[in-house]
Subunit: 454 residues, 2 copies
Amino acid sequence: MADVNDYINGEMARFKDELFEFLRIPSVSARSEHAGDIKEAASWVADRMRDAGLSASVIETPGHPVVLGEWKEAGPDAPTLLIYGHYDVQPPEPLDLWVSPAFEPTVRDGNLFARGASDDKGQLFLHIKALEAQLKGSGNLPVNVVVVAEGEEEVGSPNLVPFVESHRDRLACDAVVISDSSMFAQGIPSLLFSLRGLAYFEIHVQGPAGDLHSGSYGGAVVNPGNVLAQLLDSLKNSDGSIAIPGFYDDVMDWDEKTREAIRGLPFDQAEFEGEVRAPGLNGEAGFSLLERLWIRPTCDVNGILCGYTGEGAKTVLPAKAMAKVSFRLVPNQDPERVGELLKAHLDRIVPPEVEVTVEELHGGRPWKAELEGPFFEAARNALAKAFGTDPVLTGEGGSIPIVVDFQEILEAPVLLMGFAPPGANMHAPNEWIPLENFENGIRAVAQFYAELGG
Amino acid sequence: MADVNDYINGEMARFKDELFEFLRIPSVSARSEHAGDIKEAASWVADRMRDAGLSASVIETPGHPVVLGEWKEAGPDAPTLLIYGHYDVQPPEPLDLWVSPAFEPTVRDGNLFARGASDDKGQLFLHIKALEAQLKGSGNLPVNVVVVAEGEEEVGSPNLVPFVESHRDRLACDAVVISDSSMFAQGIPSLLFSLRGLAYFEIHVQGPAGDLHSGSYGGAVVNPGNVLAQLLDSLKNSDGSIAIPGFYDDVMDWDEKTREAIRGLPFDQAEFEGEVRAPGLNGEAGFSLLERLWIRPTCDVNGILCGYTGEGAKTVLPAKAMAKVSFRLVPNQDPERVGELLKAHLDRIVPPEVEVTVEELHGGRPWKAELEGPFFEAARNALAKAFGTDPVLTGEGGSIPIVVDFQEILEAPVLLMGFAPPGANMHAPNEWIPLENFENGIRAVAQFYAELGG
């Protein structure tokens, strides 16, 4: 490992120069005027993969291309790792809130500011540099490697699942590594133990055929707005738990050790309160704040529209009402099953004077990491050595659909190790990454390969 | 009365010609391009008052003028009646749904179609013609008369209360008669016994300072959309009654005779169902449909807005939620008191993690007729004679703010006798009035004066 670390130390200045070059390409996937930049970024990534010693190809999709890097000289008996990242970025707007330009990487106080610094160019690139350090520094890798760099993550990865499915053999692997998330706190390396899933619905309540005058009809006609409120209120109990019968049947009870570990994390509640700025915080009784975010399901109203919402008093008895409601799911819940339970629950309570329809808009399964095995152990040891402190296990309240997709299509466990700082402004102005995270990230990933080599 | 009826029969053809002339003036108060038509209509009405034998003046206001007709020769010991109506009309749009043009009065099957035929030109004009028949036919009236014809009823009468207040002495009267409503059924003359009042509120729930990601924050942050649903749901009981403590304290229990009379009305529920076209109808337990509309208060959601309401699934935990909620009130409820009760109720149940504000948008007191005394008896007898059948007493679910205003400012009871047919399309294309109603309306009002003369 000494040769590899020497290589990293000797080449670090160039690595950073190259990262700055990468960040200067405005590869905004959402904007057609950046199509040329996307192409340039894909080609640039392929070149850097080749520099590292991988073979690389830019593979067209119906959208933006996937860059595929491969090194399979560890032989058929060695395990294969798939590294996933993305080279596209969020739009930079609003531009006037950037202290330095979004596509002009600028270092202030050891922190690098640029769109894509954390999400995900910086994290994708540190993997390529770690591979380069291994292959150029030691001349070898203990595992075969496939790197998948997509260009549509920020627009919902519409072509990724078809790509993975149609390249199933070429992408076959024993584990998937993704670095597209954050560390629990600066200086504390983190591995994810779970992601929540999602079941998102639109509920429509239809009463009269058209809007009516609330004076001439009110009192004799059942109001869809009142009914919608009743239905939404029926979804939760006063203790913050969800009131749909059967909803908790598939909810996994985490072991006391994991729950203790969560409670032991150095969580900065004041910072969280500062982000939220509500008169108070609350959630499901019997669980800590982080448990409510990571290991417990939710029921949140995302939107409601009914009747007259403009200025002043319009005395309308609305014909209909609509709500968007979603549930964050935890292992082992299934979004389809949650949809069935929701519909059965509403069917039981909907008054016969209105018609209610439930539309399923989006579903994603929750995910739970394998917290054992050689890849997990190697990651834990590598992170501890590179950052000088043991990694913590964290959950993530949001959903990363590709994690479940990779796991299911490739039948391989996924390892999520993030190097972004908390509050990285990933989709906001002044996105940043501490240069220390970029440097230690390269060292951690290189160490990860060394650990796998035994 | 024979001379008066002879006069009416002899002049009826001219009365109708004049009505057609009146209806041809497009006096749309809401549109500035019709300002000249409004002026013309006001002047035309004043001329017809003079034809009838009244003195008339067109009195300017900050908006459209009031036409004031007066005949006070019955002497200071005779009672004084105030007749209120309006010469402005609703806009005629959508024009393409009119079978014959809105401002070209057309008779089909004995029914007169034109904007304003029922609301309110036809009804205002029949009062002027009844006065003419009395004064020209018999040469006398048993009461003094003031006619107030306003030109802003269809834009909310912004200048009427100030006008009435500043002309309090000139408008002093013993009773107010208004014909701007409908008969219960064609051929069945009607007197109103009550109007519902209104208390209209906007409820705002504020949670976090800004919208949050439902994955990263959901479960630990109280959702204003869920809270709003809880608050709205808390306003009603499952039996359709209102759950706000104290809400029914001021609700008058109508006597059993009135309730029996309501239940005895020839109400066409199938027609009502056809207008509503909902899967079913329901309301407060223990009351008939008409009772729910006329003599019981309501709580209706008029509008809700929260979070994301566009297409698809946006995983937002909204910062705030808003609902418009209104209560129809019945005697002796007071909108301000209802506002206090609502706020006290919400204060008791609002969770401390959100901030709730309640804004009062509009309030109007309910009204109850005096169902006895010489004016009421005269109206009842006159309607029975003119239509050949006893009038029925009906309620009205909506509010007519000027009724309460007249009653309070002038300290005189108000008599509401409508001659519009049910389904007159008052604010819709193809507004109409049966010519029979116009003719019998003149006879009924002339008879009303005769009855007052003893």
